[in-house]
Amino acid sequence: MNIQVTVNGKAHEKEVEPRLLLVHFLRDDLGLTGTKIGCDTSQCGACVVKMDGKTVKSCTCLAVQADGSEITTSDGVAQDGELDPVQEAFWEKHGLQCGYCTAGMIITAMELIEKNPDPSEDQVRQGLKGNICRCTGYQNIVRAILAAAEAKRS
């Protein structure tokens, strides 16, 4: 099937198998490997991308479902080499160790802050329910998101 998708501001038109997962389309067909695959049951959130303004787990979405949509992946968050405040905060607060969950965490965090610019710690923790990190115990991820929210407010 033919699909047209705009990813990180760039338009793509591709022939894809109907069963191709969006995450494989992004990684294998477009070479955007910043998005990761951490599980096969839609549990871990490593593959979270933003599609038409909403976060989706790209392992649970077919590429054909993305036809006509606009997608942002972690590869496209930094603009012209400028880190987003969320990325800055993850760096500053040691919100990552192995880095494998980070793409999904950052996209999730950006949406979380967009929806709630001044979240409480508990709201951040609740907002991360769909993302698993095995390295950090989440403490510094929560700190990072709170700091990023504060940076975006000021």
Partner: protein, 783 residues
């Protein structure tokens, strides 16, 4: 030295590539002509393979090749176990990369399909017809040793893989003379490590050169090359293993797995690059599990609360085959550390390694030491109840007094340094322990159940002296090496044999170098993870990277500095003895104006226009560091929990981790290690656990069924520390990668039992799920 960056919590230099998606993990690697492998795994825990028909699969769209055990037999050597403790009658059973006649666990490899894309490879798996004759199976390690249990390997009667004993002091006398003996049976349930990056391999065989390049999700690429050479027969110098970006391991990426060798085999057959990446559910079956002990343990004490002996009989599940380091975990890393931080005259560990029809078991964060800490700390809490004393005071009474340079314990090992009581006092003071106990009493009066758990631990890590490695059957050395190289512009690269995969040593090692050589930390690059450009090293595990690898690096830097000093003397036309160093500069004693920076020296050494007689050009050095002893971090952890007796739900109200890992190079990174370890330990106490059914089917076979800690399940923890340097380490440092997981499981467990004791609950098996807790409360109350 005037400035020090050692001790500063600077942010990590590896992060920019990780937060932008620029990093290249194994599954991100794409090579021209690359094909994809998928592995067919046994659906049965134990079965004979009667026949395999690959005809249909071979003709499926996109399929390039299908191989079975008949193809790999005799081409790939068996997957080796590399830790065979001596004097324990160990059965190093055959572990074929692809099963040929018998499958021994659900997940055992049976065939491999290689196809043009991953979807086609997985499609074709379903077209392979395997006829099995299902055999009886056994999953529990204690049950596997009972008469009549199904036999898993012909040459391992009663499924006994080994029987290893560590005994020191007179335990028989300690128990015969004891005023009090407390006992418990502890189930250290199986855990699934779940590094977020699934295992993956990209194998690229170059037939014309006879060379294999293998991208591998490994914690120890040099070991993969070493053992991979033995399995494939490719000479070691013609194998390059690349593991520069690895998404966590926690022990699960130590082993030499069959799958990476199968991918290599496929590449060699096809002369094309082959990628294999595990799905998460496949990883649940085919990546090692951790723990899996059934422990019968007891403790002897006097009426005054002096602990006189600990002994155990442990059935330690090994799974269907011996994984690379599997046998070393419940033995060396467990049975030798039964004293913990306490002065105990006699300890004895009787460890039976047992085969079962399950995924092989190997090191998982803490590896043997969480189990040891659990049994000691659990028994002490039981003793406190028996004696009617405060569990903290009981611990205090038995702590080893401060020592700075060696303390022998009953099992025969010598701790390096320890000062346990200050950290205990610091943690107790931080929470106001007495006030907490009073609050607990008040809450009980109104029917609310709060519990307090306090753990003191000492652990063994920083593996270790190579001579000891040899003596305990470890199939390699445990030293580390490093190269420090100044470039002509005065910038530095260091090349290390250890393989960080999330622990941040690119940053901490640069901090070590910045101070040792007086250069800016940003002028140091740290190269690791590729066997083609790093010196030999035994890898990152056992909290050894900084203690051993960091020490090697410091020693190499000191050699470089000494050469620079001699060259400076030559250039300053001063006597060597008169040239001194401070903060990146060499100067003539008494004339600080006459000086050269180390960068200037580096330039001169590299251009070599004016070298002293006999001095080689260049400014670099390598060092090999073999530690004289392990290191022994220690600490006190405290948990406060509340149990809702109406639904069995447990809430962690407060958690304090007090740890002493010696001088901290980067406190921010140290804290991060503690956070992660503690939460993994909570996972074992409260949520995680492998469930097999009686037929060896993994019921917790995906992230949907296996509960991992998530952010909303607990609050922030609080971190405290003291600094007790290791006397034998060139940097004084100990390890911090595993302490969290070592201490936190039993701390939370003891807190929960402490909460429930008034309700008649004295024992529960982990994980402490609400259902289990609720049922136990009902039983405790006799309803």
């Amino acid at each position: 030295m005037t400035t020090r960056i050692f001790g500063s919590g600077i942010r990590r230099r590896e992060d920019p590539r990780l937060i932008t998606g620029d990093a290249t993990y194994t599954d991100d690697v794409q090579l021209p002509g690359m094909v994809h492998a998928a592995i067919l795994r046994s659906p049965h825990a134990h079965a004979k393979i009667i026949s395999i028909d690959i005809t249909e699969a071979s003709g499926a769209p996109g399929v390039v090749a299908v191989y079975t055990g008949a193809d790999t037999d005799g081409v790939l050597n068996p997957i080796p176990c590399a830790w065979l403790p001596p004097d324990c009658d160990i059965k190093a059973v055959d572990h074929p990369a692809i099963a040929k006649d018998v499958v021994r666990y659900q997940g055992d490899a049976v065939a491999v399909v290689v196809a043009e894309d991953r979807y086609q490879a997985e499609d074709a798996l379903e077209l392979i017809n395997v006829e099995y004759e299902v055999l009886p199976s056994v999953v529990n390690p204690e049950a596997a040793m009972q008469p009549g249990a199904p036999q898993i390997h012909e040459d391992a009667p009663n499924n006994q893989a080994f029987h290893w004993v560590a005994a020191g002091g007179d335990t028989d006398a300690a128990f015969a003379d004891a005023d009090v003996i407390v006992k418990d049976t502890i189930l250290q349930q199986r855990l699934i490590p779940n590094a977020m990056e699934p295992r993956s391999a990209v194998a690229n065989w170059t037939r014309s050169m006879g060379e294999l390049t293998l991208w591998s999700t490994s914690q120890n690429p040099h070991i993969v090359r070493f053992l991979g050479s033995l399995v494939t027969g490719i000479p070691e110098h013609k194998i390059r293993v690349i593991a520069t970006e690895v998404g966590g391991g926690f022990g699960s990426k130590i082993p030499m797995y069959a799958d990476e060798m199968i991918a290599s085999f496929c590449s060699m057959q096809l002369n094309r690059p082959v990628k294999w990446t595990a799905t998460r559910s496949e990883g649940f079956l085919a990546t090692i599990h951790g723990r899996d002990h059934v422990e019968h343990v007891e403790l002897a004490a006097t009426r005054e609360g002096k602990i006189t002996g600990i002994r155990s009989v442990v059935y330690a599940g090994m799974g269907a085959y011996l994984s690379t380091a599997g046998p070393g975990v419940p033995t060396i890393l467990h049975g030798l550390i039964y004293s913990g931080p306490y002065d105990i005259g006699a300890t004895r560990a009787d460890i039976y390694g047992v085969f079962s029809n399950t995924t092989p078991v190997d090191a998982y964060r803490g590896a043997g030491r969480p189990e040891a800490t659990f049994l000691i700390e659990r028994l002490i809490d039981l003793l406190a109840v028996e004696l009617g004393t405060d569990p903290v005071e009981l611990r205090r009474k038995n702590l080893i007094p401060k020592f700075e340079d060696g303390h022998d314990v009953a099992s025969g090992i010598t701790y390096d340094s320890g000062d346990y009581e200050p950290l205990l006092n610091m943690v107790l003071g931080h929470v106001d322990y007495q006030a907490l106990r009073q609050e607990q009493a008040r809450m009980r009066e109104r029917g609310a159940y709060m519990g307090i758990g306090v753990t003191c631990y000492a652990e063994i890590c920083g593996l270790g002296p190579s001579q000891v490695a040899g003596a305990v059957g470890f199939g390699g050395g445990l030293w580390e090496s490093a190269i420090v190289r100044f470039h002509p512009t005065g910038k530095v690269n260091v090349y290390i044999g250890t393989a960080p995969h999330g622990q941040g040593e690119e940053t901490t090692f640069a901090q070590i170098i910045a101070d040792e050589l007086g250069v800016d930390v940003d002028d140091v690059g740290v190269i690791h993870g590729d066997t083609s450009n790093t010196p030999m090293g035994w890898g990152t595990y056992g909290s050894r990277t900084t203690a051993v690898g960091g020490a090697a690096l410091a020693l190499a830097a000191r050699k470089v500095k000494e050469k620079a000093r001699l060259l400076a003397a030559h250039l300053l036309e001063a006597a060597e003895a008169d040239v001194e160093y401070d903060d990146g500069k060499f100067f003539v004693k008494g004339s600080p104006d006459q000086s050269k920076t180390i960068q200037e020296i580096a330039t001169m050494a590299n251009v070599a226009w004016n070298m002293p007689e006999g001095m080689e050009p260049g400014l670099e050095a390598s060092a090999f560091y073999d530690p004289p002893n392990f290191v022994y971090p220690f600490g006190t952890h405290l948990a406060v929990v509340e149990v809702d007796i109406d639904n069995g739900n447990i809430v962690i109200k407060r958690y304090v981790a007090g740890d002493d890992c010696g001088p901290q190079i980067n406190p921010m990174i140290v804290e991060g290690q503690i956070h992660g370890g503690v939460v993994q330990g909570w996972g074992q106490a409260l949520w995680e656990g492998v469930v097999y059914d009686d037929n060896g089917q993994l019921l917790t076979g995906s992230m949907t069924d296996y509960a991992l800690p998530r952010a909303h399940m607990f609050p922030d923890m609080e971190i405290l520390s003291t600094v007790t340097p290791s006397p034998h380490n060139p940097l004084g440092v100990k390890g911090i990668g595993e302490t969290g997981a070592i201490a936190s499981t039993v701390t939370v467990y003891n807190a929960v039992i402490d909460a429930l004791r008034p309700l008649g609950v004295t024992h529960l098996d982990m994980p402490l799920t609400p259902e289990k807790v609720w049922k136990a409360i009902r039983q405790g109350q006799g309803s």
